[in-house]
Amino acid sequence: MKPIVPKKHEPIRIGFYICHCGTNIAGMVDVEAVAKYIGTLPNVAVSRHYKYMCSDPGQELIQQDIRETHLNRIVVAACSPQLHEHTFRMATAAGGLNPYHFQMVNVREHDSWVHTDRVEATRKAMALARAAVMRVPHHKPLEVKKVAINPNVLIVGGGIGGIHAALTLANAGKMVYLVEKEPTIGGHMAKFDKTFPTLDCAMCVLSPKMAAVGSHPNIHLWTYSEVAKVDGYVGNFKVSVRRKERYILEDLCTGCQECVNACVFKEPKFQDEFNLGLGKRKPIYLPFPQAIPPVTLIDPEVCLNFKRGRNPDGSHTVSDKCKKTCVEACGDRKAIDFKQQEEIKEITVGTIIMATGFQIFDAKRTPYYGYGIYPNVYNALEIERLINASGPTEGELVMRNGQSPKKVAIVHCVGSRDENTNRWCSRVCCLYSLKLAHLIKEHTEAEVYNFYIDMRTPGKSMEEFYNRVAEEGMHLIRGRVADVYPDPNDGTTGRLVVQAEDTLTNKILKIPVDMVVLSVGLEPHPEAENLRRMFNLSCSSEGWFLERHPKLAPVNTFTDGIFLAGCCQGPKDIPDTVAQAGAAAAEALALIDKGHIEQEPNTAYILAEECSGCKSCIPLCPYTAIAFDETKKKAIINEALCKGCGTCVASCPSGSIVQNLFEDAEIFSEIDGVLAD
């Protein structure tokens, strides 16, 4: 697309509008003075201030002025262009002008909200507005760039968020690639026993959705896989996925588990990751009965076939020293392949949903709670497994010594609200602690003591749930636990003393208990930083993926076409995760169904007559969008590849590269404008 050359000698007539934004801007900036001042500048035909420029009447005001006073340039001083630039471009277009004959001035986020002196803030608003007024005469009419979108979607993470987003998109007829690092989908939710506040069984509601993912014709489910590389842009991402070797051919395995029964290890002997080490598994195993896909895998670290065939450099070779009873059991299905290699799959997708979840806080980082030191101190997720009917104790809540606890302390805010560990409130712990209190009492009739700082139960039916659990006769103590240590009067049973101040009675409590449950907080996933770099996202200072706007774009990111679902964006409960996953899917659908993406026409082009053919721009372009025409001895920019960063423009020694929307003349006038007082 070549810019249309503007009509020569057409007089510039600028309409300037400054928004009050209620009192958000007008409270700190004298909008009337700004409008009056801008009205005195050359080329300005209309200068107004108005309560809400983004409202319908505000936009209508612009259109009416264009029609009646023949404006040909529009400047609006209001909030950040990230919020309403599009709105006002559309209003400019509706008035009959090219939408790019518009310039926006940020006098809210960059001015009224951050300054405290009204005179200074007004002066700054005038300078910024003046710069735009001086810039806008140079604006050229441009056209929106349209790029076709690939309808396939990549979803990273197969927890409840990824599952829900995948099903929503697949049901809408889109092809979904669901990539999960673990051998099965299900995420943290698959480990939970019951869910608050309804106390319905987590697996009962989750497993039908997992099964649906496993059998859906529109979902490519790649478990035990990781994204290795991401290139490209919205509409056309090129992604490499590493499918790790599980030594079982997924297509051939029927999930019968006869191989597991046939393994030479008659009894499960190795730490079971799914049960957080509380249970045991064999070298060949299915993580849990409802795992999706129902495909076993082999742990080469402990499987005799690999162990005995280990090379000095750590790699594995198949050994003959094992009986291979599993292969025998598999028989004609031939699903076991000891020689399986990891595989890299290349896919192209138009949009991506990140649903990579969280990790629980490592309670060893708060050493005075004794986690990892005293066997009877557990974290909350371990308790979920212990009271789960499909867990290592088949739902019987017993401690490592085989006994059932008679007194249990639940410690809230472990690794939350603490400057020494994590500063944020993890949002779900109060409620899951109440749930665990109820379940522990139900399973064991133990006395349960909940030590909390503040009881936080917002959300639908949550306070009612708190009420219900309190009525059941829990001890609810307002005080953060300060110390957990073995009962000095009882050295042998492993009983612990939990020490805290009851801040409502000013009493120091030292309560002997059999079991301590640490309600650990939620933390960013350990891979979040790598993923952030790979997908070009931003993270908050805590390490959560950053949403585009905290209120108005909570599932969008700063990278177009990548959306967020669930706890990768911040701690949240299951209903909120599912709601967000649905929203992310809807955002992806909105892009896909439009069929194309509108891109800012901020690409660069070469003024051939000026180009000296020095080639210095060519290696600078990260997208190899610049080529060299050997016959004409000139550089040429491929507009389809150009992303509009402007790096080549800044480096061209002859000044023969122009970036639309950011032309040198436009920027120099802006510099003049901000400094002209």
Binding site: M126, L546, F558, L675
Partner: protein, 185 residues
């Protein structure tokens, strides 16, 4: 055109004027975040938005300084985080070269500051702006436009003297040695 515009609020006292070039994806957004979080900071900085810090042409910086800015602040994404892969790296290289040049011209290196500020670092926008304003307040005005005026006056004086001398020569009079002054730049 610039000369036709009169300052609307003359208050006499000098305050640093700083032009900032922020990349759209990280630092401009961080400045928005500072706004949304109401992090109050000095009002001396005028932000100009570019898509990438790689677009910052050294001429923009020189233009800003010669048009009356006391300092220039450039904000880009952290290394490896550039929205366009490596525009920030290009910016860094140019900036290092420019700084050497400016130093030769007698402009303090503190007057051009390059900072990597991610979209999440609203707090850093506030800190960097406040620090820079403090530094420049200490250094005092750069005043290049005033110096230009001074040089222009000196030049026209010289020209006047030269032409006077020429007239004298043309008029057949004995040439008079021009009294030259040493000009301190």
């Amino acid at each position: 055109m610039a000369n036709t515009i009169q300052p609307p609020l003359p208050d006499g006292k000098w305050k640093p004027r700083i032009v900032a070039f922020f990349c759209n994806w990280c630092t401009y957004t961080a400045a928005d975040l500072a706004g949304v979080s109401r992090m109050k900071h000095a009002a001396n900085v005028r932000i100009i938005r570019l898509m990438c810090s790689g677009r910052v042409d050294p001429q923009f910086i020189i233009a800003a300084l010669t048009k009356g800015a006391d300092a220039v602040l450039i904000g880009g994404c952290h290394p490896n985080d550039c929205h366009y892969s490596e525009g920030n790296y290009k910016c860094l290289r140019r900036n290092q070269m420019l700084k050497r040049m400016l130093a030769d011209m007698g402009i303090e290196p503190e007057r051009v500051r390059l900072e990597w500020i991610s979209a999440a670092e609203g707090e850093k926008v506030k800190r960097v702006i406040n620090e820079l304003v403090e530094t420049i307040s200490r250094l005092g005005p750069l005043g290049i436009p005033q110096k230009f005026e001074e040089w222009d006056r000196e030049m026209s004086e010289l020209t006047r003297q030269m032409s006077k001398q020429q007239e004298a020569v043309d008029g057949g009079e004995t040439p008079v040695a021009v009294k030259t002054e040493v000009i301190h730049v």
